[in-house]
């Protein structure tokens, strides 16, 4: 049913399918270390896709996304370790707490523009991290964090090895890609783009811009919260240092470098930013230097990202043909 948006088999879709097939078979040829790298890439890819809703589509700078990721992870960890609820069952709850948190913190700051909003989100991210270190409500375990989180189980199978996690994480990534693609082609997705392009014109065309700014924060945060859940289950131990400012920067960089507003771009960004430093590990410290230089060059010569977002296409010929009928 959704095929109508993809149109006929075009070269681009063929490439995407090929990449997906190769990715799905990769674990058969890789050792656990490299599979775990792919798992990290998957986690960052989903995080960046969720941030892409806010930064890429709505054009709101958010450098505190790790806060929502943390809320999700801690929700899963606390409920799982105290009440023994299976982690994956907690996915909706993690989405809810992270989304609710976003709603509460974003509400008073949402009218801020560009750089101001950006600075406030940095503050939010830091407040959450420091609150976690200070063992807020006596529930977060302070700087040591929370350990002994259960492994996730899917239909009775416990997900344990990196190979098993690979399929769990990338299945979630696949679902995210699918749903976010649909979201792009919808009233909601378009409203975010109108907001990014011209807020006054959007409001003047009847779009409740304040509502959509909040809504995109809540959706992005809820998704990051669910990734937090999976991360907690993967690590079985979480601590505040996993949710530092640097994490938010990484997610933001993936979105901007890969292609703001573009799902393929963000995925490629995740592979480059998380994957390349692992590949060039032998160059030790020089790799970060090269990496930084590459990023500077990119931003000078290709500001819209490596794979920029493309205009949506609609099947007009079909609609036009049917125009005569009532």
């Amino acid at each position: 049913m959704q095929k109508k948006y993809n149109g006929k088999i075009n070269p681009r879709n063929a490439v995407y399918t090929a990449v997906a097939v190769v990715l799905a078979m990769l674990p058969a040829f890789l050792n656990p270390y490299w599979v775990d790298v792919l798992n990290s890439i998957g986690i960052y890819a989903i995080l960046a896709l969720s941030l892409n809703i806010i930064v890429g589509h709505a054009g709101l700078f958010n450098l505190g996304h790790a806060a929502f990721y943390a809320i999700g992870a801690y929700t899963a960890a606390i409920i799982n370790t105290r009440f023994g609820v299976p982690v994956l069952w907690l996915l909706p709850l993690c989405a809810l707490t992270a989304g609710l948190f976003a709603l509460i913190v974003a509400r008073p700051i949402i009218h801020l523009r560009g750089d101001y909003l950006c600075i406030v989100t940095i503050g939010v991210g830091e407040i959450v991290r420091i609150a976690l270190i200070n063992n807020v409500f006596g529930m977060t375990g302070g700087a040591n964090g929370i350990f002994g989180i259960d492994r996730p189980s899917v239909f009775g199978y416990t997900v344990r090895s990196p190979y098993q996690f690979f399929y769990l994480i990338w299945a979630f990534a696949g679902l995210t890609i699918f749903l976010f693609h649909l979201l792009e082609y919808s009233r909601f997705g378009r409203a975010l783009n109108y907001l990014r392009e011209d807020e006054v014109a959007a409001e003047g065309s009847g779009i409740n811009t304040a509502h959509y700014k909040l809504a995109c924060f809540v959706v992005g945060a809820a998704w990051a919260g669910m990734v937090g859940n999976i991360y907690a289950a993967k690590m079985t131990i979480i601590s505040p240092e996993s949710y530092s400012f640097w994490e938010s920067v990484l997610m933001f960089t993936i979105v901007i470098l890969g292609g703001s507003g573009s799902i393929p771009g963000v995925l490629l960004g995740a592979f480059l930013i998380i994957g390349l430093p692992e590949i060039f590990r032998e160059f030790a410290n020089a790799r970060m230097l090269i990496f930084g230089a590459a990023m500077v060059v990119m931003m000078i010569f290709r500001t819209q990202g490596i794979l920029p977002s493309r205009p949506r296409s609609y099947k007009l010929s079909k609609l036009r043909a049917g125009e005569g009928s009532p």
């Binding site: 049913m1 959704q2 749903l179 649909l182 979201l183 082609y185 919808s186 009233r187 909601f188 997705g189 378009r190 409203a191 783009n193 109108y194 392009e197 011209d198 006054v200 014109a201 959007a202 409001e203 003047g204 065309s205 009847g206 779009i207 409740n208 811009t209 304040a210 809504a215 959706v219 205009p311 949506r312 296409s313 609609y314 007009l316 609609l319 036009r320 049917g322 125009e323």
Partner: protein
């Protein structure tokens, strides 16, 4: 009963009174022109009607309902649509999607139906696209539906703004210098378009510097100078009004 009723409207910015105690009515089905020298406060009146600014004093009634305290998007969904003096399109989106933005307030799909593309959401999208194509046809842009807005000519960008406004199905359409930057041929097709819109039952309030256009299409003209209303009447009355001639039409360097 007036469709739009502006009552003793006042708005100042710092020490400058941009709109000073202005009152006028727009009757249903009319084409009303709002004219005046640059800086007379015309656009400010438009921004007050559409809720971009809040009036210091006075009231704006649209169909008996006070609209001056409503957020802009609420005003739009009540049935007032506008275009902008400086073109404000979504430049990097297609012509089609620009007009789709106008349909937004008439659609209902929320986050979840947008994420899942429920059957209802798909029906709604399809119906909206059909409508959008009709509006593009109406203004004469249907063959450019898939262009990016920024690639249109200046005159066509103005038409696209009108199509976007029409897509909200307004009862009152506010046009801020619709002929600005248009050549003669484009202007005359704009006049035809304005007439067609009125035939479709849309009341029109417009700001325009092209006096021949204003005199041709408007039934009623309101003249502002330094934020105050100095005259109101039919084109014939306005042409002969001494204050208007002094303030606006009479000097050599104007026109």
């Amino acid at each position: 009963m007036s469709l739009l009723s502006i009552k003793r409207l006042t708005k100042s910015f710092g020490g400058l009174t941009a709109v000073n105690n202005v009152s006028f009515d727009v009757e249903p089905g009319q084409i009303v022109g709002l004219i005046g020298p640059n800086g007379a406060g015309k656009t400010t009146v438009f921004n007050l009607i559409t809720g971009i600014y809040r009036p210091d004093q006075g009231e704006i009634l649209f169909d008996q309902q006070a609209v001056s305290r409503l957020p802009t998007h609420r005003t739009i969904s009540l049935g007032i649509a506008r275009t902008f003096q400086t073109i404000r399109l979504f430049q990097n989106l297609s012509v089609l999607e620009n007009v789709l933005s106008g349909r937004h307030c008439l659609m209902k799909s929320g986050v979840f139906s947008s994420l899942l593309h429920t059957p209802r959401q798909r029906r709604e999208e399809r119906a909206a696209l059909v409508k959008v194509l009709q509006y593009l046809e109406f203004v004469g842009l249907s063959d450019q539906a898939e262009q990016l807005a920024k690639n249109l000519s200046y005159g066509n960008q103005r038409l696209l703004e009108i199509a976007r406004a029409l897509a909200t199905e307004p009862r009152l359409l506010i046009l801020d210098e619709p002929a600005g930057g248009m050549n003669e041929q484009e202007t005359s097709s704009l006049v035809a378009l304005i007439t067609r819109m009125r035939e479709n039952g849309i009341t029109i309030l417009l700001i325009e510097h092209d006096m021949s256009l204003v005199m041709r299409v408007c039934e009623n003209i309101v003249v502002l100078e330094y934020g105050s209303k100095i005259a109101e009447g039919s084109p014939e009355e306005i042409k002969q009004n001494r204050r208007v001639i002094e303030a606006y039409l009479g000097t050599e360097d104007e026109e």
